[in-house]
Amino acid sequence: MPNLGSKTRAITLIALCGAVAAVAVGAASAGSKRSAGTTITGAGSTFVQPLVSQWISPLGSAYGYELQYSGVGSGAGVAAITARTVDFGASDAPLTSDQFNACNGCIQIPWALGATAIMYNLPGAPNLLKMDGPTLANIFMGKITTWSDPAIAKLNPGVNLPSTKIAIAHRSDNSGTTFNFTDYLSSVSPAWKSQIGSGVAVNWPTGSGGKGSSGVAAIVSGTPGAIGYADIAYAIHNHLSYFRMKNNSGKYTTPGLRGILSAAQSDQKPNADGSLSIVNPPKKFPNAYPISTFTYVIVPQQTSKAPDLKKFLFWAVTKGQTYGPKLFFAPLPKTVLVEAEKSIAKIHS
């Protein structure tokens, strides 16, 4: 016969189940009441993630929006918005025509302007060592393997470079930053262009892969002798050194606001699909940082969330830009801003 002990246990079990059920049901109803219509989800580029992260709190206070952004890489962001599993996608690599077709009525809007820094970890060496395109390409092709290589020493006379082996860090996922970086390498190195080419993912001849910009930053900061590429905000945030790159006018520039804005002058009018190309600007822009890039938000032109999306995007390209400079995102130039606002206005439900 059941005794008191097991009856108590039965009651305990039922109470436990009841508590769990109450939590779950309460959660579902409370959650759905609070966040109906005010959650905006997005996914994509880790390049722009530092900036978008700064928008979460002010958007919440300004409009009550819950912005949820996942940095899964530009490629995955495009896939996510194509499958409409998020409200917007973010990519530093402009969509190809195939991707536009697959996305079925998406528009591409430049919403931030930044630069890819080439970060390095070399204990004992100063910050802001000099580097140029062809040498960088040779390093990433595996042709230059130690820091004391004459090609690097030639660029940095008077600096004592140890003979540490160079450890390459690249992206393992589909990345708009990879696109920006390989686009640059292709334009400065014919060998790179023919053997490897450019894209959101390439066949890296050497090196280890990290997931997301922070994965690359993690490899660089944890590996003496490492070189990797990511948005400049990651180098700043993680106290990593980065190179001064030689541009076409012969000057060595840094991925700061001046270098980025100067590069942005080389392409002031977005193409019909919204994209711009400011990589490796010609020499008439002497202060340009050669690995700068615009980055884009991809949204469906027709969506049930059109009013909220438009409010969010208008805010992003105007007020949102003010959060950029301390992370080395330059504000959108006037001409680009005008085109962006025109594109945003096209979104309808």
Partner: protein, 297 residues
């Protein structure tokens, strides 16, 4: 050690020294193996405890994370703790009744061949890698609808089901047949016997099995990574959206370059570890107690 054998051959006695030496070596190796296991466990737990303790504070449980924080504002992993509570809670609600029903069917109703067959199916389900369960739930629930806490809960429920079923079956088998016969002999219908007489005896064992299953899935990352990981930093209770969970948070923080992120990962790992250790050990103690009680009848 060796006993003096009766009628041992001269060869056996001559080799005795060597055989004893070999024996001693093997015993030492066995001690060494055990010491290595204890050492590994000690190192891992010590690492988690030492590195996690410093960041273990109330903020971890109550404050949401601030991605790319440019200030030193306090942040934590509140969204992950809330999300784990909801997702694991829903998973338990899904797996528990089904698991108990399966065990009842197999133990009280099923002919031997079906019992063996479905037990084998349960073992197969137990052996499916968690990442494949993630792929399955992605194809079933996420495609076309987006990620959600429900999908995460369902994936965890698939992992819990074999554990709940198996432990319920074991405890049902321990209930002596005399109880069933007495009840049936008194004219109580079988369904009443099962639900009102047999089942209450097993509550302790079911509780134990459930707690062990919860401890198992509380740390499960792979399926959640696929179906419930596109999240924001806000604290969210609604399972219709993807919710952050502790194991996924630890996974993401572990790959970050920021030492502050690592510290939070260690702290969350410490909380998770303490929860799992506490519930596992407690459940096993309860199980032994309940098993002894039933068997003593």
């Amino acid at each position: 050690m060796s006993a003096h054998g009766m009628g041992a051959s001269p060869l056996q006695i001559k080799n005795l020294g060597r055989r004893k030496a070999v024996n001693r070596v093997m015993e030492l190796l066995a001690w060494l193996a055990a010491a290595i296991a204890v050492a590994i466990l000690g190192v891992v737990i010590w690492s988690v405890a030492k590195r996690g303790a410093s960041e273990l504070n109330l903020n971890l449980l109550t404050k949401p994370p601030i991605p790319f924080s440019l200030t030193n504002a306090p942040q934590g992993l509140a969204n992950a703790f809330v999300g784990t509570l909801v997702v694991v809670g829903l998973a338990t609600l899904m797996a528990l009744p089904v698991g108990i029903l399966v065990a009842i069917y197999l133990n009280e109703f099923a002919p031997a061949s079906i019992r063996n067959g479905i037990t084998m199916v349960l073992d197969v389900l137990n052996g499916v890698p968690a990442i494949v369960i993630g792929i399955f739930v992605y194809g079933l629930l996420v495609v076309g609808h987006g990620q959600s806490g429900w999908a995460g809960a369902f994936a965890l429920a698939c992992l819990m089901l074999p554990l709940v079923s198996r432990s319920t079956m074991e405890i049902l088998a321990l209930v002596p047949n005399s109880l069933r016969e007495a009840s049936l002999g008194l004219g109580v219908p079988q369904w009443r016997t099962t639900l009102s007489i047999i089942l209450p005896q097993t509550i302790g064992g079911i509780l134990t099995g459930t707690v062990l299953a919860v401890a198992r899935v509380a740390g499960e990352t792979a399926p959640l990574l696929l179906v419930c990981s596109l999240v924001g930093p806000q604290i969210n209770w609604n399972p219709q959206h993807a919710l952050q969970t502790i194991p996924v948070a630890i996974f993401e923080l572990s790959e970050s370059p920021d030492p502050a992120d690592h510290a939070r990962a260690w702290a969350a790992a410490l909380v998770l570890l303490l929860f799992i250790l506490f519930t596992s050990l407690g459940a096993r103690w309860l199980a032994n107690r309940s098993r002894r009680k039933i068997a003593a009848r």
